[in-house]
């Protein structure tokens, strides 16, 4: 389990849609079929969204088998904040939770509580560390990886607080150990995920911590089962979500939940790129917090969700406006203690150095790529299999492609 996007070569028509939309230019067409460079991929799911032929699908884990035939004695489901927005307006929260439990889980932990705690952490860090501005959120794994690949100078601005998924998994696991004396290997933690990036966050976290999640279940692969159980619906008591934390499902929810006033909430990859450019230029040093979410409207727009993001947002708002704030979570009271113990914070894993920099060689390389680029038509048509003429020039320089893969140059040559 280390790659969350499956690709069906048979379905790919070589249309270039995914290649052109990929924010890290990780896709090339090879022999007329898309091919993802795993090293460059940030698992944002943009390709799944734009492919007209359904060639990309989430990696579907056999969660049922994993759950019942492995050694887990205690099985925990972590409910992501956008989950409640995926069912018809007015669907009882308790019904959703109980439906998940009836699929065979022993306990359902609502990530909204973890989200509220992380919000408190955000507020604390912004108040205490005034030398870094703006702080950039570390909830969305795709946005964090975009920064790592394309804006490494902004890594210092990351707020470095673990995402609610990880906090929820850590707390739920600790609870199972404490209450029922289970051993670590007897506990299975399953995160029901709105997006492929969460899987990457589990298998390859950017920080020096153990994510505590064993399996990531794409929501769409388990949606039918949950829905059928909801319809059967018996009403039982449940752990109400934190209404504050539930806001995390939607863009600007983190900031609102942390009660910030001076923030920017940006969603969608292209918008994020514009704001990151502004931060790099030093234009946003007077802003406390920048909330970056790769999907349109935030996590409700995640690729593994089933419902349109705007409708899901409306469903979440309905819950926020029509649920009494009766929820209580005993862990909330221990927030200060847990924060001081370092449960929320993390440090970045250090990448090994890429060797000594040589200006002369860098200039020669730049000039050679420029020379190739100048020979290309600058139409960015994508027919060569690279997303732009400049990317094609880089590929030619790296011997991954040839100049005459360009259809325009080939046509001119014939004349």
């Amino acid at each position: 389990m280390n790659f969350s996007i499956m690709f069906d070569k048979e379905k790919c028509k070589g249309c270039t849609n995914c290649m052109k939309r990929c924010p890290t230019q990780a896709i090339r067409l090879i022999d007329g079929k898309a091919s993802i460079n795993n090293f460059k991929c940030i698992h944002c799911g943009e390709c799944i969204k734009v492919c007209p032929y359904g060639a990309y699908t989430p990696e579907s884990i056999e969660w049922y088998e994993e759950m019942h035939f492995s050694s887990y004695k205690y099985k925990i489901a972590i409910l992501s904040t956008p989950l409640y927005g995926q069912f018809p307006k007015g669907t009882d929260i308790c019904k959703v939770q109980n439906a998940v439990l009836r699929l065979g889980f022993d306990y359902a932990y609502d990530a909204s509580w973890a989200a509220e705690m992380v919000s408190m952490g955000i507020k604390k860090k912004i108040d205490e560390e005034k030398n870094i501005r703006p702080f950039i959120s570390t909830n969305c794994p795709a946005a964090v990886r975009l920064i790592k690949k394309r804006y490494p100078s902004l890594m210092d601005n990351l707020i470095l607080l673990k995402e609610p998924m990880v906090i929820a998994a850590t707390l739920a696991r600790a609870r199972a150990k404490e209450k029922f004396n289970y051993k670590d290997e007897e506990i299975g933690v399953f995160y029901i995920s709105p997006c492929p990036a969460k899987l990457l966050a589990v298998t390859d976290p950017v920080g020096d911590f153990v994510p505590c999640v064993d399996w990531v279940i794409p929501l769409n692969t388990i949606y039918g089962e949950i829905y059928r159980e909801i319809i059967k619906g018996e009403d039982k008591l449940c752990l109400y979500p934190s209404l504050k934390g539930l806001k995390w499902a939607v863009s600007s929810g983190q900031s609102e939940s942390a009660e910030l006033t001076n923030y920017i909430a940006v969603n969608g990859m292209e918008n994020i790129i514009q704001i990151l450019d502004e931060i790099e230029n030093g234009n946003l040093n007077n802003v406390d917090f920048v909330e970056t979410l790769a999907c349109v409207q935030g996590c409700v727009g995640g690729t593994f969700n089933v419902i349109n993001p705007f409708i899901a947002q409306s469903n979440i708002n309905y819950i926020l406006n029509n649920t009494e704030n009766v929820g209580l979570n005993e862990e909330m009271e221990k927030f200060e203690e847990m924060y001081e113990s370092g449960l929320f914070r993390f440090s970045l894993k250090q990448d090994e150095n890429s060797g000594k920099f040589n200006m002369k060689e860098a200039i020669i390389k730049e000039e050679k790529i420029k020379e190739i680029y100048d020979a290309l038509p600058r139409l960015d048509c994508g027919s060569c299999g690279a997303p732009t003429c400049y990317a094609h020039a880089e590929d030619v320089y790296n011997h991954e492609s040839t100049l005459y893969d360009c259809v325009v140059l080939r046509a001119n040559k014939k004349e």
């Binding site: 394309r150 490494p152 100078s153 902004l154 890594m155 450019d277 790099e280 230029n281 030093g282 234009n283 890429s354 920099f357 200006m359 002369k360 860098a362 200039i363 390389k365 730049e366 790529i369």
Partner: protein
């Protein structure tokens, strides 16, 4: 120490063109990124070259932004034609600005341009007269 000059990249900056203000420094930033220059240095150069570019747009009749590459340093040179800076010491003071109200309304001209440039650079040199200003800002690798 090897201070061999290797190459100059130049970008034309148009006065009063706020739609395109920032494109020159953005080009420099992307160039340095594609050359895989250290991220911390790029960050400083991005901030400084943006400030220098905005200065040309606001205060001059137009000019050039150059990025000079040496073996062991990068020098950003801002060269403009214009009225020059009347009182350099005052211009280097945080918060001092001669930008008119119409420009401040656009969110520019906070009086942090030159002070920021000094803050992020390793060396700073300014020559100004009534026909224009040349600023040289050095970053050691």
């Amino acid at each position: 120490m090897n201070e061999r000059f290797l190459k100059r990249y130049s970008f034309h900056i148009t006065a009063n063109d706020f739609m395109n203000a920032g494109k020159g420094s953005s080009s420099i930033k992307n160039l340095l990124k594609s050359m895989e220059i250290d991220a911390i240095i790029i960050r400083k150069i991005a901030i400084v070259s943006y400030e220098a570019e905005i200065n040309i747009v606001i205060h001059s009749f137009g000019g050039e932004l150059h990025c000079d590459l040496y073996d062991d340093k990068i020098v950003i040179v801002s060269e403009d034609v214009g009225p020059g800076i009347e009182d350099v010491d005052l211009a280097l003071t945080e918060g001092y600005s001669t930008a008119p109200e119409s420009i401040r309304e656009l969110g520019f001209g906070a009086g942090m341009g030159l002070p920021n440039i000094i803050k992020y650079s390793d060396d700073f040199n300014i020559a100004t007269g009534n026909d224009g200003t040349v600023i040289k800002i050095t970053f050691l690798m």
